[in-house]
Subunit: 450 residues, 2 copies
C-alpha cells in the first residue's frame, strides 16, 4: 500500500544546500538547519552581509566612474557645441538598462505571487490539519458522551426491568462494563486534547507575516517601475530636473534592492537547509512544543510501512468491546424480550446507540489514520520548499537584475544629462504638442539621427 507520493527535495534545494557556509571567523559551519545555534545564525547573517558588500562595491564603482567622468574630461574647445563622443551609446545603454530593469520587475511580480502561493498552500495545509485534529477531539467527546448517556439511562432501566432474573442482569452488567471499557479506550485516542500548539494559530501567524511581506514587495516593485518609467520619460523629454530626481530615487531603490537581495539570499539558504531534510527538525520541534510521544509523531510525520499505528491496540480493543456489547444485546433481545416486553424499548435504543457508535468509530479510525495528516504535512512542505523557494529565487533574480540595471542607469544618467542642450535653448511650452511644426522638424531630425 504505502503512503501517497510525498515531498522530495528539489534540485534547487540540493544546489543551495551544497553551498559552503561560514561563521564570522570564517570557520566552516555544517549546513544542517539549526536556527537556534549561534554559528548557524552567523552563517546566515554572513550570506546577508554579502549583499551589503555588493551594495558597497557598486556604490564605490558608481562614485569612481562619475568622479572620473566629471573631473577627467578632455578640455572642450571653447564655443564648440559638439558633444563628447559616445553620447548615443550612453543614452542607449541607459535605456537598455532600464528595459532590463522592467523585465526584472515582471520577474519580481511573478516571483512574489509564486511565494505567496506557496505560503498560502502552507497555511491551508495547517488549517486542514487543524480541522482533522479538532474533528478527532470532537468525535471522541461526542461518542463518549453518547455512550455514557446510554449507560446511565437505558442500561440502568434495562437492569431494573430484568432485576428478577440474575443471569440476564449479569449480561446487562457485562454490556455496561464493555461500554465503560470502550469509553476509556476512546478517551485515550483524543491525543491532541490539551496540547498547547495550535496549527490554526500557526497558520494565522504565517498568513499575517506573509500579507505584509507581499505588500512590501508589491510596493518595492511599483516604486521601481515608476522610477524606470519616469527616467525613460525624463530622457525622452530631456527634462533635467526629472532626470536628477530619478537619479536620486534610483539610488534609493538600488539600496532597497541590495537590502532585499540580502534578505532573500539568507532566507533561501536557510530554507534550503530546512527543506533538504525537514523531518528530523520538525519532529524534534513538535515533540518539544506538544509533549506528544515520539511514536505518535513518527507515525504521522513518516507514515510508512515501517512505523506501526500507535492507536492500533486501543482501536482493536474498542472494536472487540463494541462487538461484545452487540452480541450481549442480541442475547438479551433473544432471551429477555419474550418474558419482559418492557425491556424492548431500552434494548432497541441501546442498539441504535451502538450503531451510531460503530459509525463514529469508523470515522475515528479514518481520521486517526496517518494518511490524511501526512498528506497535509506533504502539502505544507511542497508549498514551502517548492513554490515559496522558487518564488524566492525569482525575487533574488529580480533584485540582481534591478541592482545591475540601476547601477548602469546611475552611471549613464549623468553622462546623458550632460548631453542635454542648455535649458535656454529648450522651449518648454509647446513641447507636448506633436503637431506643431517645430516638433515635426525635430522628428525628422530624430528620424535621420539614429
Amino acid at each position: 500500500m504505502g503512503a501517497p507520493p510525498g515531498y522530495r527535495p528539489s534540485a534547487w534545494v540540493h544546489l543551495l544546500h551544497q553551498l559552503p557556509r561560514a561563521d564570522f571567523q570564517l570557520r566552516p559551519v555544517p549546513s544542517g538547519f539549526a536556527p537556534q545555534e549561534q554559528e548557524y545564525q552567523q552563517a546566515l547573517l554572513l550570506v546577508a552581509a554579502l549583499a551589503g558588500l555588493g551594495l558597497g562595491l557598486s556604490l564605490i564603482f558608481i562614485a569612481v566612474y562619475l568622479i572620473r567622468f566629471c573631473c577627467c574630461r578632455p578640455p572642450e574647445p571653447p564655443g564648440a557645441k559638439s558633444p563628447p563622443p559616445g553620447g548615443g551609446c550612453v543614452t542607449w545603454s541607459c535605456i537598455a538598462a532600464l528595459l532590463v530593469g522592467c523585465a526584472g520587475i515582471g520577474i519580481g511580480f511573478y516571483g512574489n505571487s509564486e511565494t505567496s502561493d506557496g505560503v498560502s498552500q502552507l497555511s491551508s495545509a495547517l488549517l486542514h490539519a487543524n480541522h482533522t485534529l479538532s474533528a478527532i477531539d470532537h468525535l471522541v467527546l461526542e461518542t463518549v458522551e453518547r455512550l455514557g448517556e446510554a449507560v446511565r439511562t437505558e442500561l440502568t432501566s434495562l437492569e431494573e426491568v430484568l432485576a428478577q432474573r440474575t443471569e440476564l442482569v449479569a449480561a446487562a452488567r457485562g454490556a455496561r462494563r464493555q461500554a465503560e471499557a470502550v469509553t476509556q479506550q476512546l478517551q485515550g485516542l483524543a491525543f491532541w486534547r490539551g496540547v498547547p500548539l495550535s496549527p490554526l494559530q500557526v497558520a494565522e501567524d504565517v498568513s499575517f507575516v506573509e500579507e505584509y511581506r507581499w505588500l512590501a514587495y508589491v510596493l518595492l516593485l511599483l516604486l521601481e517601475l515608476l522610477v524606470c518609467l519616469f527616467t525613460l520619460l525624463g530622457l525622452a523629454k530631456q527634462s533635467k530636473w526629472l532626470v536628477i530626481v530619478m537619479a536620486v530615487m534610483s539610488l534609493l531603490v538600488l539600496v532597497l534592492s541590495w537590502g532585499s537581495m540580502g534578505l532573500e539570499a539568507a532566507t533561501a539558504v536557510g530554507l534550503s537547509d530546512f527543506c533538504s531534510s525537514p523531518d528530523t527538525y520538525i519532529l524534534n520541534l513538535t515533540e518539544e512544543e506538544t509533549g506528544l510521544g515520539s511514536d505518535i509523531l513518527n507515525y504521522y510525520f513518516l507514515c510508512n510501512q515501517a512505523v506501526s499505528n500507535p492507536f492500533q491496540q486501543r482501536l482493536t480493543l474498542s472494536q472487540r468491546a463494541l462487538a461484545n456489547i452487540h452480541s450481549q444485546l442480541q442475547g438479551l433481545e433473544r432471551e429477555a424480550v419474550p418474558q419482559f416486553p418492557d425491556a424492548q424499548k431500552p434494548l432497541l435504543s441501546l442498539e441504535e446507540t451502538l450503531n451510531v457508535t460503530e459509525g463514529n468509530f469508523h470515522q475515528l479510525v479514518a481520521l486517526l489514520h496517518c494518511r490524511g495528516l501526512h498528506k497535509d504535512y506533504g502539502a505544507a512542505l511542497r508549498g514551502l520548499c517548492e513554490d515559496a523557494l522558487e518564488g524566492l529565487l525569482l525575487l533574488l533574480l529580480f533584485s540582481l537584475l534591478s541592482a545591475g540595471a540601476l547601477a548602469t542607469a546611475l552611471c549613464s544618467l549623468p553622462r546623458a544629462w550632460a548631453l542635454f542642450p542648455p535649458s535656454d535653448d529648450y522651449d518648454d511650452t509647446d513641447d507636448d504638442d506633436p503637431f506643431n511644426p517645430q516638433e515635426s522638424k525635430r522628428f525628422v531630425q530624430w528620424q535621420s539621427s539614429i
Copy 2:
C-alpha cells in the same frame, strides 16, 4: 464533524455563468453545462465566432485606414522634404502600442503558467485518487488471500488436532465460518475492481493535452515578443525591409491572437458553466462511465452528514466477525491447549493473522472513508475552476491586449515607414558605430528633436 472546507465557485465563475448564451438561430440557451447537447455546442461556437467577427472588423478597419492613408493624402509640393504633420505622434503611438503588447506578453506568460498549475493540480489529484482506489483493491486482495490461506492451513490442521473433542472442533468450525464471512464482506468493499474508468488514464490524457497547449502558447508568446522587439528595432534603425517583414508577421500574429481569443473565450464560458455546479454533471458522468451505484458516488462526491457511508453495514459485520473469531480463538486457547499442546502453534499463527487482518481492516476503513477521495475531488475542482480559469482569463486579457496593440501597430507602421528618409540618403555601413562623428552629430539632433 463535517467534511473539510471544499470547493466554492469563485466570483469569475458566477460572472461568466450569468452571461447570456444563444444558439445559431439566436434563441437563448440555458447556461447549464451540457456539452453533449447541440444547442449548447452551438452557443459555445457562437462565443468563439465572436472573436472571428472581431478579427474581421479589425482587418476591415486596418484596411480602410491604410487605404485612406495611401490614397487620400494631400498632394505634397514637389521637392519639399517636410513630412506630413503628426509624424512624431504616429511613431510614438506605434512604440506605445508595442510596449502595451509586451506588457500583454508578460501577462500571457503568467496566465499560461497559472493555467498549467491548475491543470497539473487536477492531474495530481486524479493520480492521488487513483492511488487510493488501487490501494483499496490491493489491500482487500491481500487481506482476503491471507485469511483464506490461514483458513486452508492453520484452521484445517487445528481441526485435525482437535478431532477427538467435537465441541472444540465445532468452535474451530465456527471460526472458519466467521473467517469466510469476513472474506465475503471484504470482497464487497473492493468497489473499484473491474471498473472501466481509470483516473490514471484520465490524468495522463489531461497532462498530455496540457503539455501541447502550454507549448503552443509559449511559442505564440515568443513569436509575438520577437515581432514586438524586431518592430521596435526596425523603427529605431529605420530599416524599411525589417518594418515590412514585421508588418506581415504582425498580421499573422494578429490572426493567431484573435483565434486564440476565440478558443479561450469559448473554453472560459464552458468552464464557468461546469464550475458553477460541477457535482451533478460529474455524478452523472461517473455513474455512466463506471456503472457504480449512486449511493457510493454520492458518498464520495458529496461527503457530508446527510449521506451515510454505503460500506457501513459491511464494515460493521466484518468487524463483529473479526471480534467473534478472536473470542473463539481465545476460548480454544483456554480449553484446548492444556489438553492438546500441538494446537498451540496453529492457534498462535491464527492470532497473528487475525492481528494483521485487524490492522489491514483499520487501514481499509481509513481508505474507504470519503474524506480522502473527497479532498482529491475538491483539489481537482479548485485546480480547474480557480487556477486554470484564472489563467485562462489572463490569457484572454493577453489576447485582447495583443490584438489591440498589433492592430494599432499595423495602422501606424506604414505611416511611420512613409516618414523614413529614402534609402539612398541612408548610409548603412557606419550605422552601428555610435562613436563615429556622424553618429554623434545625429545623436545631438535626436536629443534636441524630441
